[in-house]
């Protein structure tokens, strides 16, 4: 069928089952926006900044498991989106991002709003395309969706010059994707899997090290089953929160720089690391040469380049976690949970020695209390997004996660400003769930313009600002490692967050006490409008435990014991 390039974009999105697109129009993408105006196949959410459009698509994708879609214009529209692309690339989020480009005849002439978009997106996307002829557009979009969602997922960028969106050509979306050079390896080698099971059988202190790949692979229920049938305890990375329910006896906690004492000690004492979809990030391992020093390593990952990248895998298995774990389940009847009784006991003792906790204060709210309280009040009924910093770590440590895709955070890139737009995307994907964004007084200002989107499109995100008048995480490092020289981290000069929200048509609360917080949260949930809850918390609270950067996992700074009151 003959149609314009712009129409092809619409037809392709509809054929892919896309129901929500996040974007921002501009000169070079106007032909596509003209077709968006005419169609009824999907909803378009106009964000107020291109970066937010990508983060919203990420939130949508992380919550739903579907490919997130974003449409933006050339030049500054595209460069604004780059942070989002990089964020999605680092956290393996499947996205298709379509950008306008100046007409073909103007490419290379420094035309108005021209930038070499594919040149910029190359290192921060899984793949990218510059479409130079409308006859290729259908195939390119089909490939883009396929590449984004298959193998190790990631963002794919499609740059389309304005004249190509106007060009008429034949469109056929029924074609099979045939990429001779791209064939992800999804089935693990059965002999390697058998070997891995044998080594598990002969280990005394094994541990499951779960990463975000388990969630990407939709393998949480299989992984839960494997863990329960073998009785082997598990730690989760930041990205894997929710794979196991918080009350699961075999879940130790999160490991890494701000992991629990028990999780980090278990990782240091183990004799066999069973890594599922985790990539041995430096925030997880601390000093590499001391990481799980006496342990063998089984590493299951769909990305061969992740295996043995940082830690040598004795038993590498390249494949989709779901497939591999299903095969492991068939072989695991020889492994008896009783075998690891004393190992589990050891870990329990670690936890009893230094449990993951915090000290309450009668004068001021503690940020950790706020997170715990939201967990008590909303629990499973909320999806939890975060920005980046102290609040993110407290949310990861203290929220009672019950399911995968409940936890939406920027892990690899650590993007401040991610949380609010992502939480809007989450709300768009799962409207029946409450969408919470834990944020800080630093992060929230990096995309607060999205109040407008949230009001207009009725995406009632509840932003809980853990306000310590500091760029808290940097302040913490300055306190601990820079002799308390708090260089440019004091954020005492602040907007009135209540009025800020109200100025856009949202609602706001400033709370100092537990009672005020409970009331504000209850009202925010009932009113169902975008909310800022500005929570005044203890200024100098540190995230503990902490493994200093480059230190060994077992050398943690711990929560100081509470001083006895006289």
């Amino acid at each position: 069928m003959q149609m314009s390039g712009a129409q092809m974009v619409i037809e392709a999105l509809i054929a892919e089952g896309v129901d929500t697109v996040f974007g921002y129009p501009g000169g070079a993408i106007m032909n596509v926006y003209d077709e968006i105006y005419k169609q009824h196949g999907f909803k378009h959410i106009l964000t107020r900044h291109e970066q937010a459009a990508i983060h919203a698509a990420e939130g949508y994708s992380k919550a739903s498991g579907k490919v997130g879609v974003s449409i933006i214009t050339s030049g500054p529209g595209f460069t604004n989106a780059v942070t989002g692309l990089a964020d999605a690339y680092m956290d393996s989020v499947p996205l298709v991002v379509i950008s306008g480009q100046v007409p073909m005849s103007l490419i290379g002439t420094d035309a108005f709003q021209e930038i070499d978009a594919v040149g910029i997106s190359r290192p921060c996307t899984k793949h990218n395309y510059l479409v130079t002829d409308a006859k290729d557009l259908g195939r390119v979009l089909k490939e883009a969706f396929y590449i984004a969602r298959s193998g190790r997922p990631g963002p794919v960028h499609v740059d389309i010059p304005k004249d190509v969106t106007a060009q008429m050509a034949e469109f056929n979306y029924e074609v099979e994707v045939d990429l001779e050079t791209y064939k992800p390896h999804t089935k693990g080698n059965p002999r390697q899997i058998k070997k891995a099971m044998d080594v598990i059988l002969s280990s005394k202190r094994p541990i499951f090290y779960l990463g975000g790949g388990v969630i990407n692979s939709n393998a949480s229920s299989e992984v839960r089953e494997l863990i329960h049938r073998t009785g082997i305890p598990a730690v989760e990375t930041l990205m894997a929160r929710g794979v196991l329910s918080f009350d699961d006896e075999l879940l130790i906690s999160m490991l890494g720089m701000h992991g629990s004492y028990a999780a980090n000690m278990a990782m240091s004492e183990t004799d066999l690391v069973i890594a599922l979809g985790a990539r041995f990030d430096d925030r997880v391992t601390g000093k590499l040469s001391e990481f799980a020093k006496n342990a063998g390593v089984i590493h299951v990952d769909i990305d061969p380049a992740s295996v043995s990248k940082l830690v040598n895998a004795d038993y590498p298995i390249v494949g989709d976690i779901k497939n591999v774990v299903n095969e492991m389940l068939e072989l695991c009847s020889y492994i008896h949970p009783e075998t690891y009784e004393s190992w589990r006991e050891t870990i329990k003792n670690f936890d009893a020695l230094h449990p993951l906790t915090f000290h309450e204060d009668s004068e001021r709210l503690k940020p950790q209390w706020v997170v715990k309280r939201v967990g008590e009040l909303l629990g499973d009924s909320a999806n939890i997004s975060t920005d980046v910093g102290q609040h993110q770590m407290w949310a990861a440590q203290f929220y009672p996660f019950t399911r995968p895709r409940q936890w939406i955070t920027s892990g690899g890139l650590g993007t401040m400003g991610f949380g609010f737009p992502a939480a809007m995307g989450v709300k768009a994907a799962e409207p029946e769930k409450i969408s919470i964004n834990f944020t800080g007084d630093g992060s929230i200002l990096m995309n607060c313009q999205e109040l407008m989107t949230a009001v207009e499109k009725k995406l009632p995100v509840i932003n809980i600002i853990l306000n310590n008048n500091f760029l808290g995480m940097v302040r913490q490092w300055q306190t601990l490692f820079y002799d308390k020289r708090h260089s440019e981290t004091d954020l005492s000069v602040q907007p009135d967050f209540v009025k800020l929200s109200e100025a856009f048509g949202g609602i706001g609360y400033r709370v100092h006490t537990k009672e005020e917080f409970d009331a504000a949260l209850k009202e925010a949930v009932e009113k169902n409008i975008v909310t800022f809850i500005d929570v005044v918390v203890e200024r100098f609270e540190n995230v503990m435990p902490m493994v200093p950067s480059g230190g060994s996992l077992f050398n943690m700074m711990l929560l100081e014991k509470k001083k006895e009151k006289k």
Binding site: V118, G119, R122, P123, K126, H127, L130, T132, I147, L179, E180, T181, Y182, D303, P304, A305, S308, K309
Partner: protein, 158 residues
């Protein structure tokens, strides 16, 4: 593991399409690997091109390079050569006043010859293993070469 930065030759078969070369070179610069030399040309009667990349790194680094290259969508195959035939070419320009028979004799010893004679200069070509090309270029210094150009390596597994 001992981190010996050995010289390695890697061949990469890629789809012959726009910007594929920048994908490869971006990967090297972005991940901190170095390229000693790079040769690329289309493979006859196919939609593919072949790159020969000379690089250096430890076993682990080379393994990562290979895997990361393979991850690029237009990359079909990556070979890390162990037992290979490797050749490189050099063109050198000499003043015509130098001892041409000496130069010619040297060229012959390195699979080369005089390929162009002008009013003031001659151009010679040699094609040999990279180490031997090094040798040649060091030996001919005494004949006042005016300009030297080296190609990258091309290699085939035995």
């Amino acid at each position: 593991m001992i981190d010996n930065n050995e010289r390695r030759v890697v061949s990469v078969i890629v789809v012959n399409e726009a910007s594929v070369l920048s994908r490869i070179t971006d990967l090297f610069s972005g991940r901190g690997y170095n390229i000693t030399s790079l040769t690329v040309a289309p493979i006859p009667d196919s939609k593919y091109s072949r790159l020969t990349i000379v690089t250096a790194g430890s076993v682990r680094v080379i393994e990562q390079i290979t895997k990361q290259l393979h991850k690029l969508i237009p990359v079909l195959k990556v070979y890390e050569h162990t037992d290979l035939v490797e050749k490189e070419m050099a063109l050198v320009k000499f003043p015509i006043t130098e001892n041409l028979s000496d130069i010619n004799a040297l060229c012959s010893a390195y699979n080369g010859k005089i390929v162009n004679v002008g009013d003031n200069v001659i151009i010679v070509m040699v094609a040999d293993e990279p180490k031997r090309v090094d040798n040649f270029l060091s030996v001919i210094k005494r004949y006042n070469p005016k300009e030297i150009v080296r190609s990258g390596s091309v290699a085939l597994e035995r």
